[in-house]
């Protein structure tokens, strides 16, 4: 299920050219990629598609993953032909980050369609294939904005069934031509292995693509990474990622069901500072695979604000990393907390300072009214586990 939002303004909404990822990629090959002397297998490949995220009026994150040690080269332009290059950036894709790489493109013009192309060069400088993506920077004026939000990818064993079209929700969301996508968490279900088959209530069979790392509950860094790589096997998701920037949150299943900072550990236990080693591996994989902007001096912080022009500020909160570990586990909840004091102070401060017409708070848990009798939904009011 996806939810689409369209801010109503008098300005006619733009028509955005969206093509399949393959046709866009072909468009970019002409000028960037030259003839190669080496065989295709010798050149670095883009292993899991490309993506953008955390787009503001003047900047955006671009993400990609290589199949070997390489250096990512990114060029962007306001022209689909790339006749004029606006910005270039590069970053290493190394084994210690599973060959993922991110760059922050800055100094972009507001309210513009930005086309970017990505390729990897190996350590000898030999370039590989090129893929082309797109995002639109946030407007400087009160122009129309549309976005979609959703969450919960490949849960409870329901993975990619090619015969059913794979992750069709992403295709549907792309058809709505949103300016951006808020993924409110559970990008993966690290605690839910994907089996070969599932039986549907009507007796039919759901047949999953399966991988070794997605066939067991994730504990190792390799397995957490494998969960993200599994989702990126889906062509719908890769095509969506190439065209629509993501604002990524996380919830519980990026680590394990209903996790809290204390009390969530496997046999590897806790580090000297008291943090869970399991959570650290999960967080590392999340940041490696998400096109999320790093906050200087606060590595691993998920909560952040993204200003999207005068009409909209988006507040992405983290309802897992700082919660009271007894939340949900005892009757007296009078002194428990979800956001933690620092995040709560940040949210209050940023909300009060926001002049945007719309302030969207993206929460990874449903927020409900506190009622005496509630048992039908998981939320911070009902205190049930997250779906």
């Amino acid at each position: 299920m996806a939810i689409a939002i369209r801010a109503k303004q008098d300005v006619t909404r733009r028509y955005l050219l969206v093509r399949s990822a393959s046709s866009v990629a072909l468009a970019g090959l002409g000028s960037l990629a030259g003839p190669y002397l080496s065989r295709a297998a010798d050149r670095p490949r883009i292993a899991s598609g490309i993506a953008s995220g955390d787009v503001s009026a003047g900047s955006a994150v671009v993400w990609a993953r290589a199949d070997r040690p390489a250096r990512m080269q990114v060029e962007c332009s306001t022209l689909e032909s790339f006749k004029t290059i606006l910005r270039v950036a590069s970053a290493d894709a190394l084994p210690e980050h599973d060959f993922t790489s991110k760059v922050l493109l800055e100094g972009l013009p507001p309210g513009q369609d930005i086309f970017y192309r990505v390729r990897f060069e190996d350590i000898g400088g030999i370039p590989g294939e090129t893929q082309v993506g797109h995002f639109r920077t946030a407007p400087a004026d009160k122009n129309s904005i549309s976005f979609v939000w959703s969450g919960d990818s490949a849960g409870q064993g329901w993975g990619i069934d090619p015969a059913r079209g794979g992750m069709r929700t992403y295709k549907t969301m792309l058809e709505n031509r949103p300016d951006f996508f808020i993924h409110s968490g559970d990008h993966i279900y690290a605690d839910c292995p994907i089996p070969t088959e599932l039986k549907l209530p009507d007796g039919r069979t759901w047949r999953n693509i399966v991988t070794e790392d997605k066939s067991t509950v994730a504990h190792s860094l390799t397995q957490f990474r494998g969960n993200y790589k599994y989702n990126l096997l889906d062509a719908n998701l890769r095509a969506f990622n190439a065209e629509v920037p993501m604002f990524a949150q996380w919830d519980d299943h990026e680590v394990t069901n209903d996790w809290s900072p204390i009390g969530t550990a496997d046999e590897t236990g806790y580090a000297e500072d008291g943090t869970s080693r399991l959570v650290a591996r999960a967080r590392r994989a999340f940041f490696e695979f998400m096109p999320i902007r790093s906050i200087p001096g606060q590595e691993g912080r998920v909560y952040r604000k993204i200003g999207y022009g005068p009409l909209l500020d988006v507040f992405l909160i983290d309802m897992r990393s700082y919660r009271d570990s007894t939340w949900n586990k005892r009757d007296d909840r009078s002194d428990t907390f979800i956001l933690g004091p620092m995040q709560l102070a940040w949210l209050k401060r940023e909300l009060a300072a926001s002049d945007a017409t719309w302030k969207v708070i993206a929460a990874d848990l449903p927020i409900g009214l506190v009622r005496g009798c509630s048992s039908s939904a998981a939320s911070i009011s009902t205190a049930g586990p997250a779906p």
Binding site: A4, T172, E175, L347, K348, L351, A352, W358, K359
Partner: protein, 34 residues
């Protein structure tokens, strides 16, 4: 602002119109009650 709930077939399941209230300072009000 229009909020629409859609299914995987892109069918609208539910929709609601929300009017802006620029003078209400909702951020300030909300922050007092969190």
């Amino acid at each position: 602002m229009t909020v629409t709930l859609k299914d995987v077939h892109n069918r609208d399941l539910w929709s609601v119109e929300i009017a802006p209230q620029p003078d209400a300072r909702p951020g300030r009000l909300l922050a007092q009650h969190i």
